[in-house]
Subunit: 325 residues, 2 copies
Amino acid sequence: MASIGDVAKLAGVSRSTVSLVCNNKGYVSDETRKKIEKAMKELNYIPSELGRNLKMQKSGIVGIIVPDIAHPFFSTFIKYAEKELYSRGYKALICGTAGREDVEEAYLQMLDRRTMDGVIMGAHSLKKERYLKIDRPIVTIDCYLADYIPTVHVDKRQVAEKAASLFLEKNRKKVVQLVSSHTIKNYENEKEQLFHELLEKQGCEVVDISIGYNTFTAEGYKDAAERIFEECSDMDGIFGVDMAAIACLREAKLRKLKVPEELSIVSIDGTYITKLGPEILTSIVQPIEKMAKKLVSMIILQIEGKQVEEIKAIFDVEIQDGETC
Amino acid sequence: MASIGDVAKLAGVSRSTVSLVCNNKGYVSDETRKKIEKAMKELNYIPSELGRNLKMQKSGIVGIIVPDIAHPFFSTFIKYAEKELYSRGYKALICGTAGREDVEEAYLQMLDRRTMDGVIMGAHSLKKERYLKIDRPIVTIDCYLADYIPTVHVDKRQVAEKAASLFLEKNRKKVVQLVSSHTIKNYENEKEQLFHELLEKQGCEVVDISIGYNTFTAEGYKDAAERIFEECSDMDGIFGVDMAAIACLREAKLRKLKVPEELSIVSIDGTYITKLGPEILTSIVQPIEKMAKKLVSMIILQIEGKQVEEIKAIFDVEIQDGETC
C-alpha cells in the first residue's frame, strides 16, 4: 500500500503538507491541495486512521463487556448495540468475561489507555471500588454502581407483578424462583423480594433456588434443572431466565410432568430462543433493542463530554403469551 | 487524566524523553528513567495506546464480520474467537451485516485504514471482485474466495454422509433438504449435491426447499417452517440448520405429526440451542471452538507477515444423538 511518503514524493511536497490535507487542517494552497489529491488518487493512498485518532485522542471504538457473548440475551444486546453504535459513527469492541478472571480488568485498562472511548458494562466481576476509580465514559446494564454512572434496566416491580399475576391466575401454590448470587447490587434483589411478597400474600409459597453465578451454558442449565426438580419435587410453578426455563421444560418432560397442566413455567428475558418452539414459552419480555439504543445514546453523550440527564433509564416489560403457564 | 506533558513537567524532562520511556525505545539514563517513572506513578499517568499503535502501524484489533451477531452459530463463533484473539494479544471488533447494505464495505475500508489489523469474514454480501482487491490480512469462514485466502470449513462429504445415514437407518422415503441461496461459492453446494446422490441411490427422494438468504430471526424461520409443511406435506424427513429444524419441530407438533415416529428431523450446526430441550435435536455438530481457534491462528500468521501453509483447514463433524430422528 502507498505510504504518506510516496504521496509526498509524487506531489513534490513535504509529508507534513500531505498530512494537513488528509486531516483537513491548516493552510494549504488550492494548487498544492490539488496536486496532493491527484497523487493520493494515483497511488490509491488511504490515510491511516491511527494517526487521525492520535490527534483527536479518540479511537471511535466503544467496548461492550458481557459475561457470555453467546448467551441469547447478551448476543441480542450486542447485535442491537453494534448496529446503533455504527449508525452514530462508532464501532463495537467486545469481550466475554465468564470464566476469565483478569479479562475485565484488562479491558478497563484499555479504556484508560484510550484504545476505547467508552465502555458498556454488562458484566461486573470486580470489586465495586474498581469501577468507581474510572473517570472515563462508562454505563452499565442492570447494575447500580454509583449515582453518577448511568444504567438501564427494566421496571423490576412490573416484572414481579406480571410474573406473579401469571402464577396466581393458574392458582399455583408453590413456585420456585430461580435466583443468582450477586456481588454488586443490581436490581434483581428488589424483584425477587417483591415476587415473594406478591405470591405469599395470596397464599402461594415461594422457594428460592440459586442457579449459581456465571452459569451460562446449556450443560450448566441442565444440571441446575435436575437439581431444582430434586430439591423441590412438589412445586407447581417455576420462574427463571430463558435458558433455565427451557432446561426445566425438558426435565419436566423426562419426569412425565405435564406443562402447563401440572407445572407452570414462566421465563424472564423472552429472547428468541423462547419463540422458536417446539413450545413457545410464557415469558416476561425485556425490550433488548430499546435498552441497547438507550445505553448507546448515554455512552455517546459522555464521550462527547455532555451531561447525561437520565442516570437511570427504566423500561416496561411485556408478557409473551406462551404455552407453558 | 494526566498527560504526557504533565509527566514531562514534573520530571523536568522533554515530552520526547517521556515518550522514549513509555515505548521502551532509545537511550535514556537510569537516573532520568527513574525520575520519569516516579512522575508517571505520582500522576497516575497511563500512556495512550493510540500513539504506540501509530508508531507500529498496528491497532491490535481484528474484525469479525458475520451476518447476524445473535445467531447461535455466529454468537458462539464470536465467543471463542474473541477468547482466542485475547489470549494472543488481540481484541475483537464485531459487525453484523444482515439487512445493512453498506456496512460490510465500510468495515473493509477500516481494514485499509489500519483501524483493524485483519478481518475474519463470516459474511460475504459484496461481489467477489471486491474481496480480491484486499491486500491486507483476511480469512473466511466456510467460503471460497481465492486460492490465497485461507478458509476453514467442515468436511462437507462427511456432513452429507452422516446426515444421509441417519435418514437411511430410519428407512425414510422423502426427505426435505433446506438450502439457502448463495452469491459466492461456498462449500454448501457440494454437500447438498452429495446428500441428494446418497439418498437417491437408496431410493429415497430428496426435495430441496430454499429458506432464503439472510433469514436469521425466529420469525423468519417460523414462516419458512410453515411453507415447508405446505409445499411438501408428505415428507418423512427434514434436514436443515438448527433454528429451522426447531421451527419445523414446532410446526410438526401443531400439525399433530409425531417426531421421530412419522417425521425425522436432523439439524446441522448442533449449537447450544439444540441441547437445551425440551427435545434434544439429532444434529450434525460443527466443532465451532476448534474452527474459531484455527481462523485466529491463520489471521495472526498473516498479520505477522508469515506464510499460512494450510489455506483450507477442514474439520470433522460429529453426530449428536438426539430425540428427533
